[in-house]
Symmetry: C2
Subunit: 214 residues, 2 copies
DNA sequence: CCAGTACCGTACCGTACGGTACGCGGCGGC
DNA sequence: GCCGCCGCGTACCGTACGGTACGGTACTGG
C-alpha cells in the first residue's frame, strides 16, 4: 500500500546540479540555434531522456520558466554596498549600474531569453514575460531607486518621484539598444563602447537631476 | 503554347483593396487573438480561401511581411513641414514627434507586430525584424535628425553627432515603455499621460542639448 | 452562349513537435 | 547475491498547422 507516492518532483526551488546542467544545455541551445527550441534537441544536448525532462519540469513551459529563473539567479550576483554617499560615490554607483545593465541586455543570452518571453507574452498565460520583467527592468529599478533616494537625502539629487527619475535613468542608459537587438540588428557593443555610453548616460542623468550640495 | 504563364502575383507593391482587407483581417486577428496566427484563421476571418492567400502572398512569412508593410504604410502619414525654426517651433516639432512615437508604440497593433517581428528575428531569415526596425526606430530617426540639425544650425541646439543626440532623445521618450509592453506589462497610457511624458522628455532633451541663442 | 479566369469553400497531405510508454543498464539497500 | 529505483535511449502517438488539390460559382470578354 505504500505504493510509490507520485510525489511532484517538478522544479520549484533550487535545481540540482544535474538539473542545472540541463538548464545550461537549454541556454546553450537557445543561444546557438536561435529559438525553435525542441524538447528532443534539449534531451539530446543534455544527454537525458525526454521523460526525465517532463518529470522534472512538467512541460515545455516549465522548462522555459526554470531556465529563465536559473539565468536570472546568476545575474543577480552583485553587491549593493551602501556606504557614505558623496558625489563621486554616487556617480560610481550609477555608472556601475549602467555598465552592468548594458552588459546584460547586450548579451546573447539576454536577447534570446527576452525574445522567448516576448513571444510567450503574446500567446496568453504570460508568466514568462512577467518573470523576465521582474528579474530585469523591475529588479534593476528596485536596486537603483534606493541609491537615488540616498543621493537625494545627501542633497546630491533633486527629484520628486524616484520611480520617474529611475525611468529617465533607464531610458538614458538603454536608449534604443534593447529593441534594436531584439529585432535582430547587429549592433555589437564592445566593452569600451559600453563604458563610454554608460558614462555619458550617467553624466546626462546627473545634469538633469543633480544639484551641487547646498 | 501560350499556356498561362505562371506570372508571380505575389504582393510586392501596393496591395489591392481586397488584399488590404485581408491584411486588415490579419491585423485584427493578431490584435484580438495574440499571435499563434494560423492561415486557416486568416482565411476564415477574411472570407477567402487559403489557396488565394498562398497565391497572393507566397507563404506565411510573405503574408506577415505584407501585413507589417501595410501597417507601416498607414503610420507614415505625417507632414514634415520645415518652416523657420525658433525655440518654440523646435520644441513643438520635438513634442509632436514624441507624442506620435509614444502613441504608436503604446498601440496594441504595434506591440503585436513587434512581438511577431522579434520572434521572427530569433529564428533565422530575419527580414521581418529588419522591416520593423526600418519603419520604426530608423524611420523616426531619419525624420528627427534633420530637425535636430536645423536646430543646431539655428543655434538652438549643441551637439556633435546627430545620431547620438537622437538616440538620447529616443531613450528619454521611450524609456521602459516598449520593453514593458512587449513583455506583457499592463501599463495603459492614456492620451493625457502620453502628452505629459512626451513633454517631460522634450524638456529634458532641451535641458541637455539646448543652448540660448548666442 | 461559351471559354477563361478569379476566387471561395473544403477536403486532404505531410511533417514537426509536444507528450507518453517501454526496455535496459547502473547503483543503492538487505 | 537479488530487488527497487532512477534515469538514459528510443520508439511511438496525437494533433496542429503549413501547404496543396479540386470542385463549384460568379463574372468578363468574345
Amino acid at each position: 500500500m505504500s505504493a510509490t507516492i507520485p510525489r511532484d518532483e517538478t522544479v520549484h526551488e533550487a535545481p540540482s546540479a544535474r538539473q542545472q546542467a540541463v538548464l545550461d544545455a537549454v541556454l546553450g541551445l537557445l543561444v546557438e540555434e536561435g529559438d525553435q527550441l525542441t524538447m528532443d534537441a534539449v534531451a539530446r544536448r543534455a544527454s537525458c531522456s525526454k521523460e526525465t525532462l517532463y518529470k522534472w519540469f512538467g512541460d515545455r513551459d516549465g522548462l522555459l520558466t526554470a531556465t529563465v529563473r536559473w539565468q536570472a539567479s546568476r545575474v543577480h550576483a552583485g553587491r549593493d554596498a551602501a556606504g557614505a554617499l558623496d558625489a563621486a560615490a554616487l556617480r560610481d554607483r550609477l555608472l556601475d549600474f549602467a555598465v552592468t545593465w548594458l552588459d546584460v541586455i547586450a548579451g546573447r543570452t539576454s536577447v534570446v531569453l527576452n525574445r522567448i518571453a516576448i513571444a510567450h507574452a503574446g500567446s496568453r498565460k504570460g508568466n514568462l514575460g512577467a518573470i523576465v520583467l521582474a528579474n530585469g527592468r523591475l529588479a534593476i529599478g528596485g536596486r537603483v531607486k534606493p541609491v537615488l533616494e540616498a543621493g537625494r537625502t545627501a542633497g546630491l539629487l533633486a527629484f520628486e518621484d524616484s520611480e520617474t527619475a529611475f525611468r529617465t535613468f533607464f531610458g538614458l542608459v538603454g536608449r534604443d539598444v534593447q529593441i534594436r537587438l531584439l529585432l535582430g540588428d547587429a549592433l555589437d557593443l564592445d566593452a569600451a563602447e559600453i563604458r563610454r555610453d554608460a558614462a555619458r548616460a550617467v553624466d546626462q542623468f546627473l545634469a538633469l537631476y543633480g544639484q551641487a550640495r547646498p
